[in-house]
């Protein structure tokens, strides 16, 4: 049992991870070599290939930092500072997660309401759906600064503008998934409810909503990741006081590539946690209720 798990789950993942690390180190050597050679030549002493490797892997501002450097920076920022400190990546992740989750909640609410309207009303289906799709053709990078500026003018700063950007990205997959889910109901089941003379509300709670849950959760997994993207994008034009986006921005201002990479690492870690949370909720709600595996 344990050996099977090792063979089937751990081994493939570990193999890919090792391959990625190997390519990464080779890439770091290749990309950092010109700068490293320049530095070694400037020092004026004779140097060998081993010196070059050491120099390329230990630069202060490398073109591509090694995984070791990123990990050292990441763990230092996590371990050396309390979570409320401005230099702690956990603190920044918390700020970003806060606005991402607020935006996610707003987006899911908006998306679900739109889906309900679209499914239950023909006029809304015809009038809203094209706009819902059109809304996603606008590049978020162009809209984000405007949302920040407009909301800032109205007196909203900090979390809300970022959450609105997340919401803008999030509602779309929720609407599309839930419309499909609410329409996925077996026509026979609808006939059955009619023979019981069930009210529209009873049909919704006992039939349409449970039938839509598997679709909804697929959408929620997409939505929760892009809510994080929205929050990070929203942190870029705010000038960057806190959040993973501001770490990325200040890192690129000052050429701190290591800082950028460790912020990226934190961002992907955070999205993994968020997806795991949605998957857990899905297990409890859908599979726990007898949904087919």
């Amino acid at each position: 049992m344990t050996t099977d798990l090792l063979k089937l789950r751990v081994l493939p993942v570990a193999t890919v991870a090792l391959a990625v690390l190997a390519v990464w180190y080779v890439g770091a050597l290749w990309l950092n070599a010109p700068q490293a050679i320049e530095g070694l030549n400037r020092a004026g002493q004779p140097w060998g290939s081993l010196d070059l490797v050491n120099a390329a892997f230990a630069m202060k501002r490398p073109v591509l930092p090694t995984p070791g450097q990123v990990w050292a920076d990441f763990s230092a920022s996590v371990i050396n500072y309390p979570v409320t400190h401005i230099r702690s990546l956990v603190y920044h992740a918390g700020v970003t997660a806060g606005s991402a989750l607020t935006g996610f909640a707003m987006g899911v609410t908006l998306g679900a309401l739109l889906a309900l309207g679209i499914v239950h009303n023909r006029t809304l289906d015809a009038s809203l759906m094209p706009w819902v799709i059109a809304s996603q053709t606008i590049p978020i990078l162009a809209v984000a600064p405007m949302i920040v500026v407009i909301l800032g003018n109205l007196g909203f700063t900090g979390l809300l503008p970022k959450a609105v950007i997340s919401m803008y990205l999030c509602f779309f997959p929720v609407t599309v998934g839930m419309v499909k889910g609410l329409r996925s109901v077996d026509p026979l089941a609808l006939d059955l409810m009619r023979t019981y003379n069930a009210s529209p509300l009873q049909v919704f709670w006992r039939l349409r909503l449970p039938a839509s849950l598997p679709y909804l959760f697929t959408s929620l997994k997409v939505a929760v990741t892009i809510s994080l993207v929205g929050a990070i994008v929203g942190e870029l034009p705010t000038g960057g006081q806190a959040g993973l986006g501001s770490r990325l921005l200040s890192g690129s201002y000052y050429g701190q590539t290591i800082q950028i990479w460790s912020a990226l690492f934190m961002a992907s870690l955070l999205s993994l946690v968020l997806i795991a949370a949605v998957t857990l909720a899905e297990r409890l709600l859908v599979h726990g209720n007898g949904g087919r595996r």
């Binding site: 069930a198 449970p210 209720n289 087919r292």
Partner: protein, 275 residues
């Protein structure tokens, strides 16, 4: 029951009580090229306690007729009454339970909660719901499967659960639309036997749509043979010569063979076997 306005047989001791009566019932679907006559001037009377099978090839309107009785389709002309009311009033009074071609069980509910679904909608108290579910699951031989989910059951068991669901609120009429059509013959024989016992013990009026001659003869007190394009009644065959208490062996009797031959003859006259 009779195909047209034949006088009721006064010789039979208990006077038959008509439960479903159709007079000149027609249903025409408008389509792009030409209208489809699904039902053409149907006259039919079904008495209380009857087991009536509607048989015919695909497209003969047998399912449509059942759906009209259930108020799931609206007739274009003619009249139909169910327990003396319009089909809609009968539906609102919960006069019938409907069993579909597919079990149509909700996959996120256990077998028990599927059976209690209509009771939940009618607002039956919880204790009562559980008692009735247990009772009707026992009736279809599914005791012990209350906590299982539909996908954990075989096709035959799923269909039995859906019959238990249709019986759960104790309607007077059971409408069944090819409930065993998707099952293998062995399972079908078994379920037919169970169904005939169920009918004998509950005394419900059953209307059963099928395209199996053997099934129709085995189950019915009367068989209605229908033909397609337009949907018409060709023949109504009385099966009261067969005993009410039936086992699978009666299929070998000459009486059974005679009725089956007459059904086949009726289908042939309706051009059901033409290319």
């Amino acid at each position: 029951m009779s195909a047209d306005s034949a006088p009721p047989d006064a010789a039979r001791p208990p006077a038959p009580v008509p439960v479903i009566e159709a007079r000149g019932l027609s249903l025409i679907y408008p389509t792009a090229d030409k209208p489809v006559i699904a039902l053409d001037a149907i006259n039919l009377t079904i008495d209380a306690g009857d087991f009536v099978s509607l048989i015919g090839p695909s497209g003969c309107g047998k399912t449509t007729l059942l759906r009209v009785i259930a108020d799931l389709e609206q007739p274009t002309s003619g009249t139909i009454t169910v327990e003396g009311m319009t089909p809609e009033a009968a539906r609102l009074r919960r006069a019938y339970g409907y069993v579909f071609q597919a079990p149509a069980l909700l996959p996120w509910r256990t077998v028990e909660r599927n059976v209690t679904l209509p009771l939940e909608i009618f607002g039956t108290p919880k204790e009562d719901r559980r008692r009735r579910a247990a009772e009707h699951l026992a009736m279809v031989g599914l005791t012990g499967f209350e906590r299982k989910f539909p996908w954990q059951l075989s096709g035959g068991m799923q269909q039995r659960a859906s019959i238990a669901r249709a019986l759960a609120f104790e309607p007077d009429i059971l409408l069944m639309d090819e409930p065993f059509g998707a099952l293998d013959e062995i399972t079908r024989d078994h379920l037919n036997l169970q169904l005939t016992r169920l009918w004998a013990t509950t005394g419900k009026t059953c209307v059963f749509v099928t395209h199996s001659i053997a099934e129709a003869v085995f189950l019915s007190t009367r068989i209605v043979v229908m033909s397609p394009r337009p949907g018409r009644i060709l023949d109504v065959i009385d099966c009261s010569d067969l005993p009410r208490d039936r086992t699978l062996d009666i299929r070998e009797t000459p009486e059974f063979q005679r009725i089956a031959a007459r059904v086949r003859q009726g289908l042939k006259e309706g051009h059901s076997y033409d290319d």
